[in-house]
């Protein structure tokens, strides 16, 4: 029992990181209807931005902000430079999907050129594990979970209560109707990608903090798990995606703890395949028609 609770504690950390990444991915999807294959690189770039700040003596807070800023700028650039050009011309999912794969490969290789392909790590130590109830968490892990809760609550308030949040939902539900209502859909989509990039960049930072090391390819491997969480939760739906992130994050940690951590990715894909076979619209969507059909 005790061991299971410890695993659950690590699972919650994994769930926090995965939820942020999946939320960012689902935001990108919701306003453009494009699965962004370069989403992982937003995380990777975030991790490297934080690394640069730490190299120059910056602390955790400054590193986190730099990661968010780097991810945000990259997401905005990918949207305005690539995705939006397809969406404006009414070119559908598949060509855009492939274009974002191209972006992903370019960014990975640019990072290899600048930083090399080997693993890097942060200088700031994780801190010794401490007992919190039945769980064992380091200071860094507590920072990861607390900041995730804060970001999630902020995001909820933005989406549900602000004028921007309402226009975001309007664009995701019916872009054409949003436009005839006077909403500049391209601008709303750009701002949504910026917001997703801020979250994704920060997720890349806490992912690297949690794992201990990162490389130009870390974001892409984590993206594959992100995809599982987002699809399991129901693509384009924030609350479902959050739940998907938590469930998949905890499930992966248990699989890693009790079976084998080396096969995490295989396990994630097994979940993804199962969800697509049994509940193609996501675990929590029920019989209702999806927004995107």
């Amino acid at each position: 029992m005790h061991e299971a609770l410890l695993t659950l504690g690590f699972g919650l950390v994994a769930a926090a990181i995965l939820s942020l990444s999946a939320l960012a991915f689902t935001l990108e999807y919701s306003v453009t209807n494009v699965a962004n294959l370069s989403h992982g690189e937003i995380l990777t770039v975030g991790a490297y931005c934080a690394y640069l700040v730490q190299q120059h003596g910056g602390g955790v807070i400054l590193s986190g902000l730099a990661a968010a800023a780097g991810g945000g700028l990259l997401a905005l650039a990918v949207h305005n430079g690539v995705v939006d050009r397809f969406v404006r011309r009414g070119i559908g999912g598949l060509p855009t999907f492939i274009a974002t794969l191209g972006v992903s490969l370019v960014i990975q290789n640019v990072l290899v050129i600048i930083f090399g392909a080997s693993n890097l790590g942060y200088a700031v130590p994780q801190g010794a594990p401490r007992t919190v109830g039945p769980f064992l968490w380091t200071d860094t892990e507590i920072q990861i979970m607390v900041s995730t809760v804060v970001i999630t609550v902020l995001l909820y308030v933005i989406i549900v209560h602000t004028r921007f949040g309402k226009s975001l939902r309007a664009v995701s539900q019916n872009r054409s109707l949003a436009r005839v209502s006077g909403i500049n859909a391209n601008r709303v989509a750009a701002l949504t990608w910026l917001l997703a990039g801020l979250i994704g960049g920060y997720a890349g930072f806490i992912l690297a903090e949690s794992v201990g090391t990162f490389s130009p390819y870390s974001g892409f491997s984590f993206f594959l798990i992100t995809l599982t969480a987002a699809v399991a939760g129901g693509l384009g739906r924030a609350v479902g995606t959050l739940a998907g992130g938590i469930i998949v994050g905890i499930a992966l940690e248990f699989f890693g703890g009790y079976v084998s951590a080396s096969y995490n990715l295989a396990f994630a894909f097994a979940i993804l395949s199962l969800v697509i076979l049994v509940r193609p619209r996501g675990l929590f969507v029920g019989g209702r028609r999806s927004v995107f059909e």
């Binding site: 226009s167 309007a170 539900q173 054409s176 109707l177 436009r179 005839v180 209502s181 909403i183 927004v291």
Partner: protein, 251 residues
């Protein structure tokens, strides 16, 4: 094009048309669906666009609203050129467009749908919503419900109210009564008449030609994407050619 009745402009003593569409050509990238179509609509009047299936009526509305691009012709709103503007800018010029389907945001509440309709308003959002709740009392009762939970008739009302949030000069309605029961159809026409009475130029595309012509001050008949004839609604109701176009509908 044949005109059966005196020109509406002279009848209206030379007021500027709220909407003046001249020689509009538009389509979906291939051959044009509407070609050189001209229509005019005045404030405080219902203008109908009728015609058989495939006449390009809905396409015409989409082109006027900027949803699709027109390749030729001009659109003038209240005397100002608005040709080629994207839909989010046209709405600021006073054009409100209500599509036939997917005309509400399903997972926004009624209230939020109205807020989005008034997105381009700088102020007076709440006052305008209250005015529209008076015009559509059903919506007031349902203002916190998601649009997807509304009945078909309520959804049509919400779609119209969403369009009216900007206090438009021109309201373009694409088949507002399609798919509704006869009871709701007459309720929709009652609302359209009320909206018209608030000095809006209402442009209606409809399949139910007889009912539409009864309400229309002026009506245009489109055939194969071109103007065929136009005239007072009631005159067209008894016009042999119109009757022939709609055998089984009017008889």
């Amino acid at each position: 094009m044949t005109t059966l009745s005196p020109d509406p402009v002279s009848a209206e003593t030379a007021t500027v048309a709220a909407l003046d569409v001249a020689g509009l050509t538009a389509g979906y990238g291939g051959a044009p669906i509407v070609e050189g179509v001209s229509i005019r609509a005045h404030r405080g009047a219902i203008t109908a666009i009728v015609g058989p299936n495939g006449a390009g009526k809905s396409t015409l509305l989409k082109a006027i609203a900027g949803v699709i691009r027109s390749s030729a012709g001009t659109v003038t709103v209240e005397g100002k050129d608005a040709t080629g503007l994207p839909s989010e800018k046209l709405v600021r010029r006073g054009i409100a467009y209500v599509p036939q389907v997917a005309n509400v945001f399903p997972q926004l509440t009624v209230q939020e749908n109205l807020e989005m309709g008034g997105y381009s308003r700088r102020h007076g959002l709440r006052e305008r919503a209250d005015e529209l709740y008076q015009l559509f009392p059903d919506l007031k009762l349902a203002h916190r419900r998601h649009a997807e939970t509304l009945s078909g008739g309520q959804r049509t009302m919400l779609a119209m109210a969403r369009g009216l949030m900007v206090d438009p000069a021109v309201l373009l309605l694409d088949e507002p009564s399609a798919g509704l029961s006869p009871k709701f159809q007459s309720a929709v026409w009652e609302r359209i008449e009320q909206v018209r009475a608030t000095n809006v130029a209402v442009v209606v595309v409809e399949q139910n030609t007889r009912e539409t012509l009864r309400h229309a001050k002026w009506a245009y008949v489109l055939v194969l994407g071109r103007n065929r004839l136009d005239g007072k609604g009631r005159d067209l109701l008894h016009n042999d050619e119109v009757v022939n176009l709609y055998v089984g509908v009017l008889s």
